[in-house]
């Protein structure tokens, strides 16, 4: 028994030495209260890390948060575990990341969906998505598919991240059809599916035949309403076609996995861009429309969308993300 112990100890020591020789990068992530199987950005983030594990041989781990109060302690758990980079997934973790980054100035951190702007600590990278570019394409498709010349937008809350969806969508719709009517409403919630359904029904009764939502789980109700009334819906963040295969014509996808992949790959190459916010867009493969779109819309329209993608990636079309940007954008259309 004793010799067994000694041998196993030796094996452990030797194996830890050999590990130290390879030194794979260790990356940890803290989810927000959605958890790692939220079918949304937390899950996508973890998929990105797993892809990195396979392709670049990094070591990845995650800590799930059950309550908002867990963020700080989870970040510290990953700090104590000796990670090279620690991710906070979602803007809710901004305060906790900022505090941790100040306490541990040598530790690298990154946060998804939040920008500290000029106040970004030198050991933090903010990752933002040009959601307006994906929404622009979604708006373009919605306007082209609409027969009633009326489409709807349902936002979770009137906050900058949702505004980029809202104005990108409107800009894309107006690009396709200058006379399109866009109905807009905020549900003041990211969780209340019943509310989403009610708002969507209201829009449908006002003649809208395509509804787009940027409102988390509220959207489940939006899509359900479209399904029941046999209208069209546009999903968000991930390919939501599976929720209503006949009605969800496209989804404005946010590829958190691709963005995380790039930041970690940069880190491995030794070019971590601390102290800045990186904006990922269509060009980087970090926003896109859903792959199922090609099954749902005519091939001629797909061709137009592909051409539009190139224009956006080249910067020939700049999708607005704020109300002010949208107003100036409208002037360029005329």
């Amino acid at each position: 028994m004793k010799t067994q112990c000694v041998i196993s100890c030796l094996v452990m020591i030797i194996s830890s030495f050999s590990l130290a020789a390879d030194k794979p990068i260790r990356v940890g992530m803290v989810t927000d209260v959605g958890g790692v199987n939220d079918q949304s950005f937390n899950q996508s983030a973890w998929e990105g890390l797993q892809k990195l594990k396979k392709e670049l041989g990094i070591k990845a781990s995650y800590q799930e948060s059950k309550q908002d109060a867990d963020y700080q302690s989870n970040l510290e758990t990953l700090y104590d575990a000796g990670n090279d980079l620690i991710w906070g997934i979602g803007f809710k973790m901004a305060d906790a990341i900022l505090k941790a980054a100040k306490q541990n100035p040598k530790q690298k951190y990154a946060i998804v969906d939040y920008s500290f702007g000029d106040k970004t600590p030198p050991n933090v990278v903010g990752v933002m998505f040009k959601a307006e570019e994906g929404a622009f394409l979604a708006g373009f498709i919605a306007a082209k598919m609409s027969k009633t010349n009326t489409i709807g937008f349902i936002g979770g809350m009137s906050v900058p991240i949702i505004h980029s969806f809202q104005y990108g969508y409107k800009a894309g719709a107006k690009y396709a059809n200058k006379n399109i009517v866009v109905l807009e409403q905020f549900s003041e919630s990211f969780t209340d599916a019943a509310k989403g359904k009610a708002i969507a029904n209201q829009m449908i009764s006002k003649n809208a035949d395509v509804v787009f939502h940027a409102a988390g789980a509220v959207g489940d109700g939006v899509i359900e309403a479209a399904k029941e009334k046999n209208k069209m819906a546009v999903g968000v963040d991930r390919d939501q076609n599976y929720l209503a295969p006949k009605n969800v014509i496209t989804s404005s996808m946010k590829r958190v996995d691709n963005a995380i992949f790039q930041v970690v790959a940069d880190l491995q190459k030794g070019s971590f861009k601390g102290g800045s916010t990186q904006n990922f867009g269509l060009k980087d493969g970090a926003v896109d429309i859903a792959p199922t779109t090609s099954k749902m819309i005519p091939a001629s329209l797909i061709k137009e969308v592909e051409a539009l993608k190139i224009k956006i990636a080249d910067g020939k079309i700049k999708s607005p993300s704020t109300e002010a940007g949208y107003t100036t954008y409208l002037k360029t259309l005329k």
């Binding site: 109060a69 302690s73 510290e76 758990t77 990211f190 969780t191």
Partner: protein, 363 residues
């Protein structure tokens, strides 16, 4: 001695059962328990986190235990916690006095409001015979949605977030909060790494309030006629009524005190840790965990205190298996659940052990 043996066996079998679950999901139980043990005590900050985590659990456990003594099953601890947290965040933001006035005032208001909320369930039971289990479960949801409604209200809602405004610094009960980040504090802490590490989490005065509450409730139940009457109602309402105790009044009072205790848990959480309240998609579970704490602590005040620390430590260090050994959180929840389950049912050991002891004595 015998009681100690029971508890020890319960914890041991709980841990063994937890080990089985870990083993079945392909995780080495020895490694997992080593990670948990090191993750609980190997650094001062870990102990501080356990204290922070245990504070609300001790208070909600005490709340459930107290109501149970009067024969009431307070499932509403969760809702009372939310009302206490909301009140503390609300008054902590809109009032701004000197801390010596502000802190007691906000605490008292939070406890008062949540005790009214808890009392409502007791009142409905006393007056209309509405069973408190039903009414408190429904009141939990009313509290949740009321809190969400208030958080989104203009003037209280922090723009561009899903949370309310932060409370004024004068409301904070975090220990040495300003000094920790001041130049003098940073210099002193730089020379004392252990204390610095302990103070890094938001360690707060809530734990003293929780222990004080435990002592007061113990005295109330043990040494006062009021406590005696409450217990009499719990043991047999009919007998208590025959003895001239106003049972309805006692039920309402008991639920009010229980509600106040849960509200105190919410208030200390806001004033010491979170500093605001956020939109809740679902219940956070502080109150429901209180039921487990009360069960483990055999519905006694000091039992709730020890059980609160135990569950707090288990929940804090249990999470660490996730990143260290890639254990899914479901496995961790099942493991913790199994441990609690075994601890909460000492009866299964009571009979066999009594038999063995009897055989022993015969020899």
């Amino acid at each position: 001695m015998k009681k100690f043996l029971f508890s020890f066996l319960c914890v041991l079998s709980g841990l063994l059962f937890g080990a089985l679950i870990l083993k079945l999901s392909g995780i080495s139980p020895i490694e997992a328990y080593t990670v948990m043990w090191n993750g609980a005590i190997s650094k001062p900050s870990y102990i501080a986190y356990i204290i922070i985590r245990s504070t609300p659990l001790i208070l909600t456990g005490l709340s459930v235990a107290f109501a149970f003594r009067t024969g009431l099953f307070n499932i509403g601890s969760e809702g009372q916690f939310i009302m206490g947290a909301l009140s503390a965040a609300f008054f902590g933001y809109f009032f701004n006095f000197n801390p010596w006035i502000q802190i007691p005032l906000v605490l008292m208001l939070a406890v008062f409001i949540s005790s009214l909320y808890g009392g409502l369930a007791g009142f409905m039971k006393a007056l209309f015979g509405v069973h408190e289990v039903i009414s408190t479960i429904m009141l939990n949801w009313i509290a949740l949605y009321f809190s969400n409604y208030m958080v989104l209200h203009d003037g209280f809602h922090k723009a561009n977030t899903e949370t309310s405004e932060f409370i004024n610094p004068s409301t904070s009960i975090t220990i040495l909060e300003n000094w920790k980040s001041s130049d003098a504090g940073l210099e002193w802490l730089g020379q004392h790494p252990l204390i610095s590490d302990f103070l890094r989490p938001s360690i707060n005065a809530g734990i003293f309030l929780a222990i004080l509450a435990v002592i007061i409730i113990w005295l109330l139940l043990k040494k006062t006629t009021f406590g005696f009457k409450l217990k009499a109602v719990g043991l047999s309402p009919e007998a208590a009524r025959y003895a001239g105790i106003n049972v309805n009044k006692k039920m309402t009072q008991s639920m009010m005190i229980a509600g106040g205790l849960s509200g105190l848990a919410g208030a200390t959480h806001v004033m010491g840790v979170s500093k605001n309240v956020a939109i809740l998609a679902a219940h956070e579970g502080y109150g429901f965990d209180g039921i487990a704490v009360s069960l483990i602590g055999s519905n006694a005040p000091f039992g709730s205190m020890i059980a609160g620390f135990f569950l707090g430590a288990l929940k804090y260090s249990g999470q660490k298996i996730q990143s260290a050994l890639e254990a899914p959180s479901e496995v961790i929840s099942i493991m913790i659940g199994a441990i609690i389950f075994f601890i909460a049912i000492p009866v299964i050991f009571e009979r066999p052990i009594n038999k063995i002891l009897k055989l022993w004595e015969k020899k």
